[in-house]
């Protein structure tokens, strides 16, 4: 059988500090198909952010390899764009310049100056932020910052979009708006997306598959849940949908019955 689009093979990660080895991830293997939306869920400290950083290439795995389109991943790159938890926009650049920094770097010599400008505006319009192009990050709200962060990541035309708790720092209403925006973008562009989250509803609403991590240290993939709900999905209709509720229950049971977060272990 052919290798999947993105393939994680036997990923181990351990840190060593003062001679004490801490195993964070143990034997994590996962295949992701093109266009899939995957959520990784687990209690805090289970190494899900470490896993995302390994896929991004920002952290090196101790053992095991990540393959993207059959090629091993060994350094960060724009083909695996990251939407960071706290947006990570550069505060001295305007909204436009933040996206342009990425576009100019990735498409230098490929697109003309006019094409690059159009591409920046296209991506800002995609997240409905074209109107704020000349504002600085300090002048816009948290939700808007995260929209720009998503636009910057999308503008790199990544093979895989990695989202590290993208809505974690937002209030519930803004979060719902952004989730809808991401769903729409996923439907329109068909990106492959991997999202870290600790929100059960968010995971079920957005994902094709939910990867549930056991508690660390030595976290593994405990279970992978398929979410067989047709797209486009509507959060209001789903609120009483049986499949949705069943999926939700399955994730909740995994997180709170079988792998309860043990405070004492910290």
């Amino acid at each position: 059988m052919a290798q999947p689009y993105l393939s994680l093979e036997f990923i181990d990660k351990s840190f060593e500090r003062n001679g004490i080895r801490t195993e964070v991830l143990k034997q994590v293997s996962l295949g992701v198909e093109k266009g899939e939306y995957i959520s990784i869920i687990g209690h805090s400290g289970c190494g899900k952010s470490t896993l995302l950083n390994i896929i991004a290439g920002l952290t090196q795995a101790s053992e095991g390899v990540v393959f993207l389109e059959g090629k091993p991943v060994d350094q960060p790159g724009p083909d695996r764009a990251v939407v960071f938890q706290n947006h990570s926009l550069l505060p001295w650049l305007t909204v436009y310049e933040n996206v342009d920094l990425a576009v100019s770097k990735v498409f230098r010599g490929i697109k003309s100056k006019a094409e690059r400008h159009d591409w920046v505006m296209h991506n800002l319009d995609l997240v409905q932020m074209g109107h704020a192009r000349d504002k600085r990050p300090s002048e816009i709200s948290g939700g808007m910052k995260q929209r720009v962060g998503i636009a910057r990541a999308l503008s790199m035309e990544p093979k895989i979009l990695l989202l590290d708790e993208p809505f974690g720092a937002l209030d519930a209403l803004t979060r719902a708006h952004l989730q809808d925006a991401v769903m729409e973008i996923h439907a329109r562009l068909g990106n492959t997306m991997i999202m870290i989250t600790h929100d059960v509803d968010e995971a079920v609403l957005l994902s094709d598959r939910i990867v549930m991590m056991t508690n660390g240290p030595s976290a593994r993939i405990g279970e992978v849940l398929e979410v067989p709900i047709a797209r486009p999905r509507n959060r209001i209709e789903l609120a009483s949908d049986r499949t949705y509720l069943k999926c939700r229950e399955a994730v909740l049971k995994f997180l709170y019955e079988r792998h309860r977060f043990v405070e004492a272990a910290e």
């Binding site: 350094q75 790159g77 724009p78 960071f84």
Partner: protein, 299 residues
């Protein structure tokens, strides 16, 4: 019981709010321009008046203290009288060191500008190196920490021996004085660049030059400008002392020359010039810093 009390409070609150709103609106809308103008005048008066009053008080006390004919220092009135030539003709051009105040200040500013400019370039570069590389920090930081405590004037004989000329020696003293705060602040700023920005740079695969120009300098700019501001202040402090020793045209030697000629009033005029110019130099760097770091401070 507690419930009834809560109800009473809530009944009272809206009434109080309403009353205050009604009272507040009319005066604001009736004469907006005049009110605005008066407000601006009042704000300006509040800013300018206190220093003017304090200055008058200080001059008065000084006049009283030094008014006796046996006083060793001149009173403000005597300074005005004795140094009127100097105050009235700042652009006077004469022979040798007999120049107007403007030319002395200009000569000093030129030396500061050259020495400071070199210090900025070298300081930011060295600071970036020390901030970026752990090995450079371990190797260089102890040396910097020792060298920065050497007083500026202690470098002067050494630089005179090396350059065999006054002006380059003074410039070197400015350079060596201004560079330490620039290096140290730049290094701290670069060490404090958030991991997030570094990750953005890594994902975009920015090369060394792009990272330096697009992430490092702007991210560290608030720190760098703190160093630059301290640096310009120290340079201006050092130039006066250095020029006293090297001679020629310059505000430092002017003061020394005035002392040798017992022109105490001239010294006082020169001190006022030095203070005002130093103040404007500091404000200039602060202003440039505000322009450059717009938006960075409140990330």
């Amino acid at each position: 019981m507690s419930v009834t009390q809560l109800n009473i409070k809530e009944d009272k609150k809206p009434a109080a709010k309403k009353a205050s709103v009604v009272a507040f609106v009319p005066p604001a809308s009736s004469a907006p321009y005049r009110a605005k103008f008066m407000k601006a005048v009042r704000r300006a008066a509040l800013q300018i008046l206190p220093p003017v009053i304090m200055l008058a008080v200080i001059l008065l006390v000084w006049q009283l203290l030094c008014s006796s004919p046996t006083s060793s220092l001149p009173s403000p009135g005597r300074v005005l009288h004795e140094s009127w030539e100097l105050i009235a003709h700042p652009f006077h051009v004469g022979q040798g060191v007999d120049q107007g105040m403007f030319w002395h200040i200009l000569a000093s500013l030129q030396r500061v500008a050259i020495g400071y400019a070199i210090a900025v370039v070298v300081g930011v570069a060295l600071g970036a190196l020390v901030g970026q590389s752990v090995w450079a920090m371990r190797g260089l930081d102890p040396i910097f920490q020792v060298l920065r405590t050497v007083p500026p004037l202690a470098w002067l004989p050494l630089s005179l021996a090396a350059f065999r000329d006054g002006s380059p020696s003074a410039i070197f003293v400015i350079f060596i004085t201004a560079i330490w705060p620039i290096i140290i602040n730049t290094a701290v700023g670069i060490r404090n660049i958030p991991q997030d920005y570094q990750n953005v740079a890594k994902v975009l695969r920015l090369n060394g030059f792009e990272y330096f120009g697009k992430i490092m300098l702007p991210a560290a700019a608030p720190y760098i400008f703190t160093g630059l501001r301290i640096g310009i202040g120290l340079s201006w402090l050092a130039i006066v002392a250095a020029e006293m020793l090297i001679g020629g045209v310059g505000i430092g030697f002017f003061i020394w020359d005035a002392w040798n000629s017992s022109l105490i009033s001239d010294i006082i005029v020169a001190l006022i010039y030095v203070g005002v110019v130093g103040f404007f130099l500091d404000r200039l760097i602060a202003f440039v810093g505000r322009l450059v770091t717009r938006g960075t401070a409140n990330a």
